[in-house]
């Protein structure tokens, strides 16, 4: 019991650092660790990871707000889509079996991997979109951030806002269904669909996933999915990890962040799909 608590703090620390850097939330990392490595019931794993998502979000956001890394307007606007999606997901969660959740979760991860590899292989590299777009102007979404790795101020715009909005709704739905921050989808919605640079996409995803997770966390809190002996120590580790991760991310090059992202979600995606089909390793 006591050593388990310490272990949860360490897992949280690790998940917090990675989650803050990648904008994916601790859920992606914590759910598989708790279920596959520690053999916990998926119910408690989801409850614990949704708390970790909130801890990652709030911990990292403090640093990202201070350093002007995130896009507050994009976050606020898209949060309408994610919160509505999250409510719908939470309503539907009882209708699906664990097996189905594993497979769905796994395929989500594999899809994210495919997207990220395609971007890495692209010869254009990390280009910044600065063109004009009616919706972007109307909502005043264009912004800039200071890239510490490249030592320059980056002005950016975006496009396909409705497409990003729909993707965000799907991200919210996944969050409610699976108890994850579904940050990978948020990052993809901004980075791949809306053409926002990766760093503000990750930082903004961090900010947003807290709100999405809070919407479904109350459901888990009151239905007994959140165990204090797991979620408590985990949250403390995640908060510390996210604080470190948010600082680390700013000095990393976008390409490096992408390269960390790909193997992690590929490995976990495969593992979850296989688990869903009854193969554990």
């Amino acid at each position: 019991m006591d050593t388990a608590m310490l272990l949860f703090v360490v897992i949280g620390l690790f998940a917090g650092v990675l989650g803050a850097i990648l904008g994916i939330g601790g859920g992606m990392i914590i759910t598989p660790i708790l279920t596959i490595m520690m053999g916990l019931d998926i119910k408690y794993a989801i409850g614990a990871s949704i708390i970790s998502v909130i801890a990652t979000s709030s911990g990292a956001t403090i640093a990202y707000l201070k350093d002007d890394m995130l896009n507050l307007r994009v976050a606020m606007f898209l949060e309408i889509a994610t919160t509505v999606g999250a409510i719908m997901g939470a309503l539907l969660v009882g209708l699906f079996s664990s097996t189905f959740l594993y497979v769905l979760f796994g395929f989500f991860l594999l899809y994210s991997t495919y997207n990220m590899i395609r971007k890495l292989m692209s010869k254009k590299g990390e280009t910044v979109f600065t063109g004009s777009d009616k919706t972007v102007e109307k909502l005043r979404l264009a912004d800039s951030y200071y890239d510490r790795a490249e030592k320059k101020q980056v002005d950016y715009s975006m496009k396909n806002v409705p497409g990003g909005f729909i993707m965000m709704w799907a991200a919210g739905l996944a969050s409610g269904l699976l108890g994850i921050g579904s940050g990978a989808f948020k990052v993809i919605a901004m980075d791949t669909i809306m053409k926002m640079p990766l760093k503000p996409s990750s930082a903004t995803s961090n900010l947003m996933m807290g709100v999405t997770a809070a919407a479904s966390a109350t459901v888990y809190f009151f239905n007994g999915s959140i165990r204090p002996d797991i979620a408590g120590p985990l949250a403390i580790g995640v908060l510390a990890g996210a604080t470190i991760g948010a600082r680390l991310m700013q000095v990393l090059r976008p390409k490096v962040i992408r390269m960390i992202f790909v193997p992690i979600i590929l490995y976990m995606g495969l593992q979850m799909v296989l688990k869903g089909f009854g193969v554990s390793f």
Partner: protein
Amino acid sequence: MKKEEMRDVELIIGKILRIGVVVSAIVIILGIVLYFVNGGSGYADGQWPQRFGVMFQGVAQGKSYAVIMLGIFLLILTPVLRVVVSIYAFAKERDVLYVYITTAVLVILIFAMVFGYHG
């Protein structure tokens, strides 16, 4: 709205969010410390408070699991706090469009939370 005004909004939100996070972390840590001091959760095996009444009663009696659950609940509230402060900050900068957008987010969020309590 100018860039500098957006900075003000972000800095206000950042400050309040930090207070929320620090308070919830302290409560959770306090609960974990209580667990070791009391030598237990204060509840039967496999049990912990899941309703407000039980939780606050447990907190008053110094039961460790109740204190940890309170800290976790405060942590769940930090994103809500962030949205509330955002409305205030946008209003202060007279950004009417984003006052509406952020208020919509808050309404949806509160609906979800109330639903979560009763659902």
